[in-house]
């Protein structure tokens, strides 16, 4: 949607504000979640059962099998591949999350901080589904993709992770940091006809 973005540098976050249709409440609200820590958890060879047991006992999480998210308290584990999970914790930073996971998993899993590597962007609003239909090549119909479901996919040539946070539905994306400008541009283009509100992307 070139006229919406013509003046915004392709290398910058699209500044916060309302884009596209102006009448009424925005059809889509997109917010960058700032206080969130991320870590990649890769299960050591033959360690899936151990990790599942630890997750259940020490974190209170039933380790998801497949592309699903499972949460306990502020911590969510999302399956991103065989034996691979993205840990998401709100309200803390990367090092405490890493320490917490290291304390729990010990040598059973390889951990890497991804808090700076990926940006979590949340999408909600009455026209979210129609907006996402233009972006996500995954069937997000409520009968197919439910709260807790996740998918590692490609949106507007950007590799990312999407998961459904609640039944509203609210969706979350984990987007590699350097791809966020391109992601926001595609998002604003797709949501423009419904009116889209960007929050937490800075003032440009």
């Amino acid at each position: 949607m070139s006229e919406l973005l013509a003046e915004i540098p392709a290398s910058a976050f699209v500044p916060e504000g309302r884009y596209g249709a102006q009448a009424g409440a925005p059809g889509v609200v997109a917010s960058v979640i700032s206080a969130v820590a991320l870590a990649q958890v890769v299960v050591r060879r033959n360690g899936l059962e151990t990790v599942a047991e630890i997750a259940r006992e020490r974190l209170g999480i039933a380790l998801p099998s497949g592309p699903r998210a499972a949460s306990a308290g502020d911590l969510t584990l999302i399956g991103t591949g065989p034996g691979r999970f993205l840990a998401v914790a709100e309200g803390i930073t990367g090092d405490p999350l890493l320490a917490r996971l290291a304390h729990a998993f010990g040598k059973a899993a390889a951990l890497t901080d991804q808090s700076d590597g990926q940006v979590v962007i949340q999408l909600s609003g009455p026209r979210t589904s129609e907006t996402l239909a233009k972006l996500v090549p995954v069937d997000l119909d409520p009968s197919i993709f439910k709260a807790g479901d996740a998918a590692a996919t490609l949106v507007a040539l950007i590799p990312l992770l999407i998961w459904q946070a609640d039944v509203a539905p609210t969706y979350r994306f984990a987007v590699p940091r350097s791809f966020v400008p391109a992601f926001l541009r595609a998002l604003v283009g797709a949501g423009g006809e419904f009116g889209i509100q960007l929050m937490g992307t800075g003032r440009g």
Binding site: M1, S2, E3, A21, R45, A109, D141, S178, A186
Partner: protein, 987 residues
């Protein structure tokens, strides 16, 4: 005006003004441009492709071969728009195309008198001599004379987008079969998408008057549409053409979101390209009414019999004062009756059959329509049709008429069924090709399957809708079928009137006549695919939707083979033209592909950096200071600053891969040519990895942070490829290894500082107790700690520039803060930010290989890195790298060059020749891969590959660059131009 006084699916309360060739007209909401033109008695609409013959409107749908116009003006000008598909809107501007000076008087129509010379394959045969004139004269002249509309010259101001949809059952076409298929599957609870290229659902039901459930079809249609709209699991997509079928049940479709508006609605796209993923699909695309081939069958006023019906019934337009129908089938009679019943004056029906069905003759009689049985039209006349000549048992006679509705029978619209290689099968009773093998998951119903009667359309729609729903896992109960009469469909195959007068067209769009088919036959181009290429039959925007059948039939007559044996050409997507803009969607201009800024992008921008695209990344190329107008001046300053004091560059774009596990050392030994298992904790090593074929894939440094923890860097260009390669090795080759990978490219910003003062700068930003002294952090060492007050960091003592250097990694969000801190700490030393240009110059001065050398065609030995390869272990690419050709001393290998005349400039891409050797391929000795002006040496230097390599140091060769006119002598030298012993690295 030819608008009938009542009826039609048009809104008489909503007049719309439009212009055609600048002349104002008025149509009604619900009109297409074609129906509005006919309502205004405009029957001459275009000029044909080759002969510039006057042409009118042939069809009322997407198969239109003739009525192609330029729609809109300026940047939105759109050539070759089918007037039959363009919905009328207020202020529409259309222009006829391919004519000069005007539509009614086109000078190039003289081409038709040259038709004896412009027949099939004329451009292969004429203009052959002198050959030199082809490019300069013949081709441009032919291109000017032939052709269709003009594309807009400005960029398209509208936007386009892509979208995805998923369903259990996709129904393609919303006519009687499609409606029933969608209703049946929808009632069963399946998620259904019903796509139709028309504005409204109904297909033929909008044009026919056959009662359904004892009421006009509109009543049934309203009920069906109402029910579909009420089903939450059914999505109706009007104005949407399914144009292709792809793997995994993927269907390409184009939705014309804003084509019916003067400009698209705010923030809406002009068109939307859908990828529909369907478990099952039912093709209900109907059939095309095909023409009969006879002399003068292209005259404006001649149209398909079914189009005549559509204009009369749906648009309430009589396309002329009176009309005659010429056909070989019952369906055309129904068309004539419907048209007559809504007020079109049908004077006669000419049927090639000696004895058409008696009930039809009776029905004609009651409508006062004359029947000429066993008749054939042998000529037409008038610039626009004014009369025709018919030959029958009772002799020939001329009949005055403005419209001639012709029909050679129905051709199933089965293009989509052949996109997976399915070849249609000839059904002699229908005189038509019908679907045979279909793409997986697709079935066919109704007229597209050759089931032409309305009753059969309903029945097969229900049947295929139910079958598709159950195949998708739903229990479908066949719904009671609407009651209708079994519309008559009999026909007698008939293609071509023998002995008619004038050019008899098979393909209107490409001006292919019956004679051209005969020429193709005579010259041996008899196979259908050859026939198509030689004569252009069935090419261009309409892809022969109306014309193919008659062409094949005429060839079959000539060869004496049956039509089935002659076969049909294969259809390929797209079914109808798709704008490239729609395929691109969001990805145009700045959004052609993602732009990835580095963590210090904003900072660099504020420093006035000039940026360069490296892959998707945007990197600082150089940092001009006020007054520096020449990039070389800037780069020279940056290089000198690094070599004499200290400089800073963002190297975050390098790929960074985290490897953890007890077998990482073993793993790295297998992917690198050199050994990493012996690397001490706290040390880094340069490594080279090969592809399986023995050629170099990538290089970089890998550091060992702990016994079971390594960090690898890759080149910017190969970051994703190397990660994928490592994943492949672990998942497929050695799943038994305890190695866990994670990409940390985005997590860490990496800032390099280099130059004799870099340690002093670094020391100022590290937090205690981190020791970065020469003993605390020796060359090729790595330490972890904190910088700038509590920010975790990994500091690598590495150098690409050849100077004392460090790379400091911090979490990406801290990259800018670290940069600012380093700049502040380096201020007393005049710390200078530098970009990729200076980086490149310094690596060339050092003789390091980079992207220009890692071309995927060079081995480790070619690159002078052969000695790194371990002889004690196996690694990927080892066996293939040992092929004899790689060891051939004549194979060009890596070496340095400087111009003999130091004032000369070197050019990358120049090829090497022995002095005095002729500049021919046989004498080629290698090529220059990288060059730079060396500020340290004060002249140009180069790297490249030369036969014999190092053995030739001191020799002179010729660097020949015919592309840019370079031809100079260069001296072969060691590639280490600056500090070849590497003393500066260890200070």
């Amino acid at each position: 005006m030819s608008r009938l006084s009542s009826g039609g699916l048009i809104d008489r309360a909503k007049p719309l003004s439009f212009t055609f060739d600048g002349k104002p007209y008025t149509g009604l909401a619900g009109d297409t441009l074609a129906s509005a033109l006919l309502a205004n008695d405009v029957r001459l609409v275009g000029r044909s492709f080759k002969y510039h013959r006057p042409r009118g409107i042939f069809s009322a749908g997407s198969e239109e071969p003739n009525a192609l116009v330029e729609l809109r003006t300026g940047a939105r000008r759109e050539p070759n728009t089918r007037a039959t598909m363009a919905e009328l809107y207020e202020g529409l501007e259309a222009t006829s195309q391919n004519r000069w000076p005007s539509l009614s008087f086109d000078l190039l129509s003289a081409n038709q008198w040259l038709s004896p010379f412009l027949g099939a394959g004329f451009y292969y045969k004429t203009f052959m001599w002198p050959a030199a004139l082809w490019e300069k004269l013949y081709e441009p002249a032919i291109r000017r004379a032939a052709g269709l509309g003009r594309a807009a010259e400005e960029a398209d101001p509208d936007s386009y987008e892509k979208a995805f949809a998923f369903c259990d059952v996709l129904v393609i076409g919303g006519g009687p079969s499609g409606l029933l298929a969608a209703l049946t599957a929808g009632r069963a609870g399946a998620r259904v998408i019903l796509a139709d290229e028309d504005v409204i659902l109904g297909g033929r039901l909008n044009s026919e008057r056959t009662p359904i459930d004892d009421a006009p079809p509109a009543e049934f249609l309203a009920r069906a549409c109402g029910e579909l709209a009420a089903l939450p699991n059914v999505r109706v997509m009007p104005r949407t053409t399914v144009f292709g079928i792809y793997d995994g049940g993927t269907y390409g479709a184009l939705e014309r979101v804003g084509d019916h508006l003067p400009v698209p609605a705010p923030f809406q796209p002009r068109q939307r390209y859908w990828k529909i993923i369907a478990k099952r699909a039912v093709l209900c695309a109907g059939a095309f009414d095909r023409p009969i081939v006879f002399g003068g069958n292209d005259r404006p006023g001649v149209m398909s019999a079914q189009a005549l019906r559509t204009y009369a019934v749906r648009y309430a337009v009589s396309p002329g004062a009176n009309a005659v129908v010429f056909a070989n089938n019952d369906h055309a009679w129904s068309a004539a009756f419907d048209a007559a019943d809504v007020g079109v004056k049908i004077t006669a029906i000419i049927d090639v059959r000696a004895a058409p069905p008696a009930p039809l003759e009776q029905a004609a009689k009651t409508r006062d329509i004359r029947v000429i049985a066993g008749g054939e039209v042998i000529a037409t006349s008038g610039k626009e049709l004014s009369s025709l000549t018919v030959r029958s048992g009772s002799g020939t006679e001329t009949i005055a008429t403005q419209v001639l509705g012709i029909s050679g029978g129905a051709t199933p619209n089965l293009a989509l069924t052949s996109y997976f290689g399915g070849r249609p099968r000839y059904d002699a009773t229908l005189a038509a090709f019908v679907p045979d093998a279909v793409p997986p998951g697709l079935s066919v119903a109704g007229a597209a399957a050759g089931r032409f009667s309305l009753d059969a359309c309903f029945a097969t729609g229900v049947e295929q809708g139910a079958a598709a729903a159950s195949a998708a896992g739903f229990t479908a109960t066949p719904a009671p079928q609407p009651k209708t009469v079994d519309t008559p469909t009999s026909l007698s195959a008939f293609w071509h009137v023998q002995g008619s007068k004038g050019l008899a067209f098979v393909d209107f769009q490409n001006d292919v006549s019956a004679k051209d088919i005969a020429v193709a036959y005579k010259e041996g181009f008899r196979a259908v695919e050859l026939l198509k290429r030689y004569t252009t039959l069935g090419m261009a925007t309409d892809q022969g939707k109306s014309s193919n059948m008659a062409g094949l039939a005429i060839m079959a007559e000539l060869t004496g083979q049956g039509i089935g044996e002659t076969g049909s050409t294969m259809f390929r997507p797209p079914f109808a033209p798709v704008a490239l803009g729609a395929l691109a969607g969001h990805h145009r201009d700045k959004d052609f592909r993602p732009t990835r800024p580095t963590p210090t992008h904003d900072w660099a921008r504020k420093q006035g950096a000039v940026f360069v695209e490296t892959g998707l990344w945007l990197r600082a190329q150089y940092f001009p200071k006020p007054g520096e107008t020449d990039w070389l001046k800037t780069v020279t300053r940056e290089v000198k600053a690094v070599r004499s004091s200290v400089g800073l560059i963002d190297v975050s774009t390098f790929g960074k891969i985290d490897l953890q596990g007890s077998d990482v050392g073993v793993f790295l030994d297998r992917v690198y040519i050199n050994t990493f298992s012996t690397l001490a904790v706290g040390k880094a090593r340069y490594g080279v990895m090969l592809r399986e074929d023995g050629l170099v894939m990538d290089d970089g440094t890998t550091a060992r942070l702990a016994d079971d923890h390594y960090v690898m860097t890759t080149t910017t260009a190969n970051a994703a490829k190397v990660y994928q390669h490592l994943e492949f090795c672990l998942q497929v080759l050695w799943p038994e290894l305890d190695v866990q990978l994670a990409s940390i490219s985005e997590q860490w910003a990496q800032i390099a500082i280099a130059g004799p003062k870099s340690r002093e700068v670094l020391a100022k930003v590290v937090d205690a107790p981190l020791d970065v002294s020469n003993t605390g952090l020796p060359f090729m060492g790595v330490v972890e700690g904190q910088v700038i007050g509590g920010v975790k960091a990994r500091i690598f003592r590495l150098s690409f520039s050849g100077e004392l250097g460090y790379e400091i990694a911090v979490p990406a969000r801290q990259g800018e803060a670290l940069t600012r801190a380093l700049m502040a700490a380096g201020e007393p030393f005049g710390i200078t930010p530098y970009g990729t240009e200076a980086l490149g110059v310094m690596r060339i001065e050092k003789g390091h290989v980079s992207g220009n050398e890692l071309t995927g065609q060079t081995s480790a030995r070619d690159l002078g890195l052969g000695k790194m390869a371990s002889m004690k272990k196996d690694y990927i690419g080892r066996v293939m790298a040992a092929r004899p050709a790689f060891a051939d001393p004549d194979r060009p290998s890596f070496i340095g060059f400087k111009p003999v005349d130091r004032a000369q400039r070197l050019r990358a891409g120049a090829h090497f020749l022995l002095l005095g050797a002729a500049a021919v391929m046989e004498n080629d000795e290698g090529y220059m891969s990288s060059v730079a002006y060396s500020p340290s040496l004060g002249h140009w230097i180069g790297l490249g590959f030369l036969k014999g390599g190092r053995a030739r140091i001191g020799q002179k060769v010729r660097a020949y660059d015919p592309v840019r006119g370079g031809d100079i002598e260069v001296e072969v030298c060691d590639p280490g131009f600056v500090d070849p012993e590497g003393e500066r690295l260890r200070v």
